[in-house]
Amino acid sequence: MIRAGLHALLSHWWRHPFQLVTLMLGLATATALWSGVQAINAEARASYDRAARTLAGSERDILVARDGGDITLDTFVALRRAGWQVSPLIEGRVDTDAGPLNVIGIDLFTLPMDDLPEGIGTFGGSPDFVAGDGQLLVSPATQRRLADAAGLPPRVSLADMPDAVAYTDIGVAQRLLQRETFDRLVIAAPPALNAPPLSQVAPTLARRAARSGNDIARLTDSFHLNLTAFGLLSFAVGLFIVRGAIGLAFEQRRGVFRTLRALGLPARLLLGLLVAELLVLALVAGALGVALGYVIATLLLPDVAATLRGLYGAEVDGALSLRPIWWATGLAIAVLGTAVAAAGSLWKVAHLPLFAPAQPRAWARASDRAMRLQAMASAGLLAVAALLGWVGGGLVAGFVLLGALLVGAALALPMFLSVTLAAFARLSKGPLAQWFWADTRQQLPGLSLALMALLLALAANIGVGTMVNSFRATFTGWLDQRLASELYVTAPSEADAADLRAWLDPRVDAILPIRSVDATLGGAPGEIFGIADHPTYTDNWPLIEAGPDVRDRVASGEAVLINEQLARRETLWPGDTIALPGWTEATIAGVYSDYGNPTGQAMVGLSRFDALFPEAPDLRYGLRVSGDTDALARDLQAAFPGAQVTDQAAIKRLSLDVFERTFTVTAALNVLTLSVAALAILTSLLTLATMRQPQLAPVWALGLTRARLGQLELLRALLLAALTFVAALPVGLALAWVLLAVINVEAFGWRLPMQLFPRDWLWLAALSLLAAGFAALLPAIRLSRLPPNELLKVFAHER
């Protein structure tokens, strides 16, 4: 019985291979986008873990200086001699011939092995690591990059090491970084039984509890959440296709189900057979999807890596490794998705009356009920979204808001379209127009899933596009303000710097020192800059919040400026105070925007900076030039071959480049999502096409050519796409607002003014019409070339 039943059920797919293809395609695409994004996330997280392991202290409590400054050797020795199991760490950047290198100094004698990156496990160890010149442990890629770098200790390349970072003995690191102190001490193990309390041994240090994750992971979490949200969106869009295909296959097999039941196949067994059938389809399509996802991930990963590097300074390897867990979750999500998509159809089969007439209008009227329910659900969700937008805070609330908004909007779409089409129908004259509107409205239940998919894709496109463009506009303007000097120069040494200043003095309008030190700000790594009291800064500085007399108070060293990220993260605004090394209660005079920088920053008047950090190098200068900038740059380079001269334009180009790459991934996913939506429309139309013959045949018989009918079909698709776009526009703008005002603030730490880009909308509208047109073209052409025979079958007696 099972065999016969299965054969009867499966023969359907044999007869309708296209449906099978649609189903598989939808499921595979959905799985692919989802698992592709997951693969990227997994790879990135693995990279962070590798990196975090060395940054040591991520999973252990650490000791830091209360004033955010450095820790001396004496303090370290005192702690060890008192029984505290601490291990010193130092991190910094070394400028090499081959570009900057992050150096991490560790003490292998006291650092727990668990804190080191996996790759160091393959390091057999060598006396040279500690004694003599020392060694740099680097990844093979970094090894190649540093091949010709002079002045560095010998490199040892180890697989599985994070890129662009070198691990070395703490003493070697101190030498390279020209420091004699440490950044922090890791508490490697509990102190000895009788060790005196920390407050007695090292009162200047504070114990900081272990973090659940690491800094990079925390910083990038929101970015990955973004990606995941996109993956989920794509998956949902794909599920619309699956839902359509399964629904149709079940609808068309209703007769078979009924016959099988009438012939004595128990309902349970029928259901079981169908579930088995779907499971097999889901697994095959899932496997296909995972493989496809791998391809997508491989293509996108380099851009993701670039983004993460640009935005957060997080290093992600560009190569993807296949992980079994990823296969498993890919297949699981495919099966789960199929289950969700098929649930309704299976329920219907389970409750199938043995004999019930199937009438298209009846179906449409049942859909009316469903549509009203959807509209109610939608109203509820939109209310939730509005409420969250009003009172909510935090990233999670932001994403819930996002979800409620999108799902709510999608659910409202059928109602919106139905009402709009009804209005058009009322306004229309002429029988053809009336029929067209009425018929279009009747197609809605069959098309609404695909149209919802399109709505989501369009809204995402508009929303993300608005965000990116707003960002770009703001960022460009901000760069102009921030990079006010015409030339930037870095001297190779302090001695050269003095000569350089002397040489420059008569040739430029102003020499603005750019001095900075790394420091702990608000409990996280950050930077402190010294700024000169010069109109270049005071006129151009992009302050988003300012107290009274900002300029004077900063210049006189009374108060400091901090960047927006730090302000938002620590809720510090003008009038509050912040602890700087050596200046525990620095009053904040203003907050400036600082896009594209992951860390906190503070700016101090130059004289005060000098007093606080006399050892900070004085090597970089911004130059105000009124004459020929290029000529000056050439002369400068000729006079000081060791100096690095960069013009403003180059820096801007670099910054914008980083920025552009930041959103490459988002753009790529956008395009993919839109393609999936187009696919959804195509498959819906194609499957509808066969069902529509009985509806079209009479119209044809009454005197319309097939070509005309085909045109109308095309027009209908375009119209629906256009209406969907109209509906998507406000949704997309709302989405943009959520992204800019809620998600971005949480994720990146800055809020951007929202700007509108109507020209992009036109482009997108054209694109969506094009997509819908393409999707409708094939069914329309098929209709216009349909042999009359096929249409006549509708009238045949022997139907």
Binding site: R81, G83, L108, P127, V130, A192, L193, N194
Partner: protein
Amino acid sequence: MNANRLTRRGLLSGLAVLPIAKASAQGFAGMGQAAGEFALPRPDTAITFPADHAPHPDFRIEWWYVTANLEGPDGTPYGIQWTLFRSALRPAPVTDGWATSQVWMGHAALTTQDSHFAAERFSRGGIGVAGVMLAPFEARIDDWSMSGPDIGHVRLTAAGTDFAFDLQLATDKPFILQGANGYSVKSSVGAASHYYSQPFYRVDGSLTLPGGAVEVSGKAWMDREWSSQPLAEDQSGWDWFSLHLDSGDKVMGYRLRGAEVYTASTWITAQGASTSFDNGAFSAEPLELTDVNGNDVPTTWAARLPVRGLDVTVTALNPQSWMPLTVSYWEGPVRVTGSHTGIGYLEMTGYG
């Protein structure tokens, strides 16, 4: 975790701190490695005090090794171990700064009849955390130290997360040169070390146990040894006995296991007169094995030095005195019965 421990061992072995016990290939803890350009022990080197209490950085390896048999007020026996190992990364000694060639490791243990606590410390020299100074005497790694006006009068401290000890050691008796005037041969093919001992320390002080503090007193024994290749290449480990006989005599005997079993021993009278015996005079034979950390370890021995009429059974106070550290071995207090009675310490390496 285990993998990481091995990693650490691998690392440290590479650093030549204390390498992997690779069966017989290079002997226990790499002590069979060729000495290379390090200084070598010579039979004609005269050991002088107090200078030789200080480190010998041109030798590859060296230790200050203290064991003590202690008793609580109620007669409960205890044992402690306090060891400072020095290792040189390179032959040319650099003693100051981060790039030092001198690396230090500390082991401390406290043994009772039913428990055994152990801890270890690592540090490089040159930065003020670990090292040995002569006057006043101080041997230190982190918070563990052996310090006093001179090496005959020191305070010995160590602490782990679950135990601690703080003891005063004192003696005015002479140091005992082992082997031939402190030149101690370890195999018939010539591996050797400089080796002297101080078996006469009297001890007072307190132990900190999970149950609380205990006042103790007893006897301690210090071994000082330095070399660059103390074991022959084929030697996989040793069984080392230091016994305080109730007669007041002290016995040191060791048995190096390799292609041949090589023994050496010293009989020290209560007055401090010593006689060293060459290979074969001393013998030790396992009587009972105990499963320790998954390996069969002899914890009862028949020890004999027939020339002095010694024929005793040496029994571990706590058979589970395993040191589960980066370099692991068995070390614990023993009881002596038979022709003589007494107490002592047993160290067995190369068993796991």
